[in-house]
């Protein structure tokens, strides 16, 4: 009996002890380590994920998208989960642009993955297919992949922007990633839980560039054609708005098709395009009067340090500054520049922005080379007068000519026109920023007149001239410096232009490396004309055409109808297309609407200059007068400005 009681007591003690241990353990699990276990359980059931932010878009100045971000997908297939493999394989292959065989041969695998990336439109019909698993990410999309490629930049292999605007503005474009919690079931499948977003992703800012997509396309195509046509090693074109400093187009290209960013990053000796800056210093310092002239030495001048030659023969033995610029005389430029002391010459070049970075929003901009006067040799002033011993980027040259076009005020260049925050607030709007006044207004206008002479008959830039609107500009052909001095037979042809000359709206610098024919007048100047003609014909807002109508080349009010003083045609039509010159009566268009009047005159073979708007009230030559086909008929509308 006693034995049984002992046994019972032992069982009771053991039970109590066991219960105590259990309670202690429960207490430990629930109270002491409760939070730890709760967290562990939560982590198995839920997962915090990063929600990527959509990268901001890039647009041109008119809102044309240049770069955007879209969702893209990788597609994973679990073959054993497919319900109707033959049908679903057909669907998957059709949507992803794959062959059915590519998928069917791998159906025995446990997992098939196609990295793509595939667009949302491609994968949308696959969402309902069991066994198809989609992994979303964002991908950069360029509607016109080749347009302004180097300027915009592209993502590197790791997805980070490798260069260009994408890199410069990366922090603004990137946005801020959000965070959210997804719930996982026992099999590890994630379920999105909208109520558990801890931080919403904030998309990046949208950026509108100053680039005009239309002009950019014209420039890129024209440069590529010119490199091919002139067998050049490469080239650069920069187009800016001189009033605002905004870059409207920029293109750099090498003969092998590569597109470096050399318009901003690579400096060259500008040759004769720099003569206008010596002229600016001479005029600003009153060292030269319009009638002052220097002897042209018959086109060849041997100095103790160098022999100077002029490519173009002067009409007169003595040359004024205007004549020197028009025929690009090295001899006269050097002789005139001798009237300046080194400090004056240096200060004018520095005032035009040479030797300093322009501050454009682009990485690795070159500041070019302009040595301080104490570093000059005895021949440096001569060299600088004709564009040697100084190195400039195409952008710097465009801005310097822009200062001449902008009545003497140098503007800071801009590539970014507007930055828009995710809430659609405009946080940055480009405001034209003058850097300094380089020359007084009247001097700038005088310089423009000189440059206008360059494109007139007999000037070195006559091949850039248009017949209806005036172009001002300057040619430059410079030898290329190598490690051991100037490289024999290697040249750069440059043409810097202002358009229209009377009321400038565009400044363009065209540079060709080693073009066949060497001289700018036969390569860079015609390329300038080709670009301007296309811009004139294009539907672009880069030109204010209303302003241009006030600045068309003057036409005599009563033009003789002989055709003897007819403006020169710009494009030589092929012989087969060249219309025969005929003399015929000018049709009567008085009282007609301008569009109809122009149509009738074009149909009769005449060209038309329209002044004013509304029904036509006057025509020169008048209706019934005879004129040669191709002659300009000036029509005047009822309403004319200033009347």
């Amino acid at each position: 009996m006693a034995k049984a009681e002992v046994r019972l007591s032992a069982v009771e003690v053991a039970f109590v002890l066991g219960l105590t241990v259990l309670l202690v353990r429960v207490g430990q699990v629930q109270l002491v380590r409760g939070a730890e276990f709760a967290a562990a359980a939560d982590s198995q059931r839920t997962e915090t994920v990063e929600l990527p932010a959509r990268r901001g878009s890039l647009f041109d100045r008119t809102g044309v998208p240049l770069a955007a971000t879209l969702e893209s997908y990788q597609v994973g297939i679990a073959p054993n989960e497919l319900r109707d493999p033959p049908r679903e394989v057909r669907l998957i292959a059709a949507q992803l642009g794959l062959s059915e065989r590519q998928i069917r041969t791998r159906l025995s695998d446990r997992w098939i993955e196609f990295r793509g990336p595939f667009s949302s439109a491609q994968v949308y019909p696959l969402r309902a297919v069991r066994g198809v698993h989609l992994t979303a990410s964002f991908a950069r999309f360029y509607p016109d992949p080749d347009l302004a490629r180097q300027l915009l930049g592209r993502p590197a292999g790791d997805g980070s922007p490798a260069g260009g605007i994408e890199r410069v503005l990366d922090s603004l474009l990137t946005g801020h990633a959000g965070h959210g919690v997804v719930i996982r079931d026992g099999k590890g499948r994630a379920y999105e839980s909208p109520s558990r977003l801890s931080a919403f992703p904030v998309p990046g800012h949208d950026v509108h560039l100053t680039i005009d997509a239309g002009v950019q396309e014209i420039v890129e195509n024209a440069l590529a054609e010119a490199i091919d046509r002139f067998d050049a090693a490469g080239g650069d074109v920069v187009v800016i708005d001189p009033r605002t400093g905004e870059v409207l187009a920029v293109s750099s290209r090498r003969a092998d098709g590569s597109t470096p960013s050399s318009a901003f990053t690579s400096a060259f000796e500008p040759g004769s395009t720099a003569k206008i800056f010596a002229a600016a210093a001479l005029l600003a310092r009153n060292r030269v009067e319009p009638d002052d002239s220097v002897f042209g030495e018959g086109g060849r001048w041997v100095t103790p340090s160098r022999t100077l030659e002029d490519e173009h023969e002067s009409e007169t033995p003595w040359m004024t500054l205007e004549q020197a610029i028009r025929i690009s005389s090295n001899i006269a430029a050097v002789k005139f520049a001798a009237l300046l002391d080194p400090a004056e010459q240096f200060m004018m070049l520095r005032a035009f922005g040479f030797g300093t970075a322009t501050g454009i929003e682009y990485p690795a901009e070159s500041r070019g080379t302009l040595r301080l006067p104490y570093q000059w040799s005895g021949t440096t002033p001569q060299a600088l007068a004709i564009g040697y011993e100084i190195a400039v980027t195409p952008l710097q040259l465009a801005l310097a000519y822009g200062a001449i076009a902008n009545d003497g005020v140098l503007m800071r260049p801009a590539l970014i026109k507007r930055i828009i925050a995710p809430g659609r607030d405009v946080i940055v709007e480009h405001v034209p920023e003058p850097v300094r006044r380089v020359v007084p207004i009247e001097i700038a206008r005088e310089l423009r007149e000189m440059l206008r002479g360059v494109t007139s008959a007999g000037g070195t830039g006559a091949t850039a001239a248009l017949s209806t609107f005036e172009v001002a500009g300057k040619t430059g052909t410079a030898r290329v410096a190598g490690p051991g001095g100037y490289v024999a037979g290697s040249h750069i042809a440059v043409f810097a232009s202002i358009f229209p000359a009377g009321d400038p709206q565009l400044v363009m610098v065209v540079k060709l490396d080693n073009p066949r024919g060497t001289y700018a007048r036969v390569s860079a100047a015609p390329l300038t004309r080709a670009v301007l003609e296309q811009v004139l014909a294009a539907q672009t807002n880069a030109l204010d055409r209303t302003r241009m109508t006030r600045n068309a080349a003057p036409v005599p009010r009563r033009a003789p109808s002989t055709g003897a003083d007819m403006p020169r045609a710009v494009i030589d039509l092929p012989d087969t297309a060249r219309p025969a010159r005929l003399t015929r009566a000018v049709p009567d268009v008085l009282g007609l609407a301008p569009r109809e009047a122009v149509r009738r005159l074009h149909a009769a073979g005449f060209r038309v200059r329209l002044e004013g708007s509304g029904p036509i009230v006057d025509a020169v030559p008048a209706a019934g007068d005879t004129a040669t086909t191709g002659a300009i008929v000036v029509l005047r509308g009822t309403h004319r400005r200033g009347l």
Partner: protein, 87 residues
């Protein structure tokens, strides 16, 4: 007791209905988001095709094949807008 049971069942029914509705809404939201994403992708593709079709590289050869050419500047006539200033 029955009142308690009904109350509990009522609460449970309400919770289940609410959860079901939220799941349906979440699915609808997901579908709408996918549709929007697909529409955006389609828009981007159309935009790319429009840009390619409207580019000078595509248009100029086509225009030349039709006997057209780029006008010279002398052939361009700029029509002036009527002056808005009160005259």
């Amino acid at each position: 007791m029955i009142a308690w049971l009904i109350a509990v069942l009522g609460v449970l029914t309400w919770v289940v209905a609410r959860q079901t509705a939220s799941h349906l809404l979440a699915r609808e939201l997901d579908d709408t988001r996918s549709e929007r994403s697909a529409a955006e992708a389609e828009k981007a593709e159309l935009l790319r095709r429009i840009r390619a079709a409207g580019s000078r590289a595509a248009l100029i050869p086509r225009a030349e094949s039709l006997g057209l050419r780029l006008p010279a500047d002398s052939e361009i006539v700029i029509l002036q807008m009527p002056d808005s200033g009160g005259r």
